[in-house]
Amino acid sequence: MVRDKIKQAISNEVLYKNLKSFVENYKIAKEKAYQGHDFENIRRQLNKIKDYSYDEIVSLYEQFKENAEAKGCYVYAAKDGHDANSYILDVCRRHGADLIVKSKSMTSEEIGLNEFLKQNDITPIETDLGEWILQLAEEKPSHMVMPAIHKSRQEVARLFEKIKGRKVDENDIKNMVKIARHTLRDYFFKAKVGITGANFAVAETGTIAIVTNEGNARLTTTIPNVHIVLLGYEKLVRSFSDSLKILRALPKSATGQIISTYVSWISGTYPASDNKEVHFVFLDNGRLPILKNPALKEALKCIRCGSCANVCPVYEIVGGHVFGSTYVGAIGLILTCFYEDEKIANELLKMCIGCKTCSVNCPAGIDLQSLIFDINAAISEKYHVPTYKKIAAYNVLPNPYVFSQVSKIGKFLQKPIVKNKEIDKIPFVSKDLNFRVLPAFAHMSFTKIYQKYYNENRRKLYKSRVFFYSGCAIEYFFTDMGLYLLNLLDKIDVKVDIPKKMVCCGLPSLHMGLGSAGLKTILKNLRFFDEDIDQDVLVLCPTCGSTIKHEYPKYTTISPKDYQKSIELRERVKSLSQLLSELGLKITYKHKYKVTYHNPCHQKRGLCFSTEEFLKPILGEYFVPLKDSDKCCGFGGSFSFDFPEISSKILDNKIENIISTKADIVLTDCPGCVLQIQGGLKKRGLFTEVMHLSEFLEKYTELEEIK
């Protein structure tokens, strides 16, 4: 059960410590490695290089096969895991191999090769140190590149003691590596067959390349007389030029190395002590049909660097045994949908918080988060979705009347537990859920406050107008953020218009996996935007803004009128910081509070406008940079209710960073982040004030038009 696995992972101190320090060091190492390189350009290049149609892959395969066979190699096209396993078993049997050596191959984990060989009385020995440790521990890898990252030196020492029959000093890591060196050396010389994967398969000449650090792939391919290469079709590249470009990025994104210690380019039946026999086993297992799908085939551009796991805030907390199956991290969630049990895949998809950090870090330019999000929205309803979620998504969120009735009920029910517009603790629920103070339902909805505001402040003349979409958080909970906005914009003679009815943007339903409810909500929402959108559409919630910008065009592709509106909206939706920046105002900070800024995921990576850069010149010396300012706060909407333990731990890290700034105020421009961070600080009795940008600007700055 995922719940139990999460609890187990979170209570594992060793894992938590290892992952936390790894993630921090990785960030620094990766940045250093890419210095002098244009990462965005590399992403564009790699995305293009690995863009194949199904026909192209088949043609590359034919080309590879022709070249390899001309040099005496055997090439086999395996339909699925069982097919590949049987072929490999057959080769091993023909050579009387009772023992074989392997260098690391995720593809072999995918098809369960080791278990299959063992069932057929052949002993596979993993020679990559991390994989060998796991083999001894009978565990699965928890990371693509550092498989044993979850194991402590003590655990490794105990494992080695078992096989050596003597005491092993757990603090002498150098010595433990020596033990591996000597023990595994024997196996290279005893094995009759060596099995490897391949990082690239260059069709040009039928050559593969293996990228390693330890030297085990070199020995695996050199000592035994038989070499079997197991690889998915997606490893094929057209030319050496392409493979070298991928090689430039792979080690940098994987471990922050400029290049790995060894890159072995292997072609034909290269010499051995006897006649070398080389077999290539190309694996389909579901890859080929995916290549015919323009959206899904993006995932096959993966170069297996593991960086999506390295930057994922959820992975950092729970590790790869929870956040993935054979493959871990963001790509792991997607590949589990392709190659493994869909029920398991469905559960895993739910653990994506939606922060998009994976998408912007992927060297192959894959928008991983969108793929996870879209697959989740498409398949969730094949499995159990809690009834209350379905009711919320289908009946409440798309229906402003029902929503307002629900909020009335909420206002009534919350009376006993509300104090100062806050809910400190929800009774009768799991302790995990009460890790932060929550906002109460507002007394009056924002729409009502808006109507009251303009009734009481009648003016004849405004210089310009802006259309404001509030979203549910501000409409029903954080109404003050909206009111501050009205005041702020009034000072510069900007009139605010709002939709006749405020309908949810649709994201909560989509995130819950209810794609058709999301679509229903989106279409409903669009009805309340005019046909001709001639004003900027302002949002104070970047999640709503991001959804309008990116999801609306996607979900309305075959509804022409809605699509046209969506495209128009996409150009016009913007955050307050972007709006003010474009108005070219002089903004003067009138106080001396020290201020730091948290970057909401959907502001930086969704709306793609940096409020941080907007604020720095305004705050000057009073700005204190926040460490990892663009790292997720752990809210993720429904995520923080579904996975409160993970949300809470991510929040811990964010609060730790905020406290170290010693700032008086932490600013942000997302009501979800305000909820999470403010709720967390209050629960801990900490006094740093959390403010939305609208409130901060209204209270503490002066806006002037530049003549």
Partner: protein, 154 residues
């Protein structure tokens, strides 16, 4: 370009030496090594390496890549390949004129050699792992030490 090569080579822990051709033609130079493969100096001393490996080998590289501090060695020869895998100390000789700027500069070499049977190795430093608690350890399944000798031939 040599400076760039040395910078990246140093970064992975290699000791780098600029030498003259005469230094390597010194009488008995190859006696320091169990295996020597320096065809440009007509110095070839091979043996069949077994499970216990050898203490040291000195091998001539075909190219050096400044971008990454790597050497490129045509490792088709079985004995030579075993030597580079199983030597505890691997010293590498590279002519200054054979150091190229970037990975793409090796493209043609790779294409040409792989038209037939081939095994080409890019080697950057000594074998390493960080698989135990991410503590970097040098010397796993390959050499524990590599030194680079750059021959000034220009």
């Amino acid at each position: 370009m040599v400076e760039k090569f040395i910078m990246y080579s140093k970064a992975v822990g290699n000791k780098n030496f600029l030498v003259k051709e005469e230094d390597l033609r010194e009488k008995g130079f190859e006696k320091k090594y169990d295996i020597a493969y320096l065809p440009s100096f007509s110095l070839v001393k091979m043996l069949d390496v077994g499970r216990n490996g050898i203490s040291s080998a000195i091998v001539e590289a075909d190219y050096g890549i400044a971008e990454t501090g790597s050497v490129v060695i045509n490792s088709l020869d079985f004995q030579l390949r075993k030597a580079t895998c199983l030597a505890d100390k691997l010293d590498i000789v590279i002519f200054r004129s054979k150091i190229v700027e970037s990975l793409e500069d090796i493209e043609e070499f790779l294409r040409d050699l792989t038209k037939k049977n081939a095994y080409i190795a890019f080697i950057t430093g000594a074998s390493r792992t960080a698989d135990i608690e991410r503590v970097l350890t040098i010397g796993v399944h390959g050499p524990c030490e590599t030194n680079i000798f750059i021959v000034e031939d220009r």
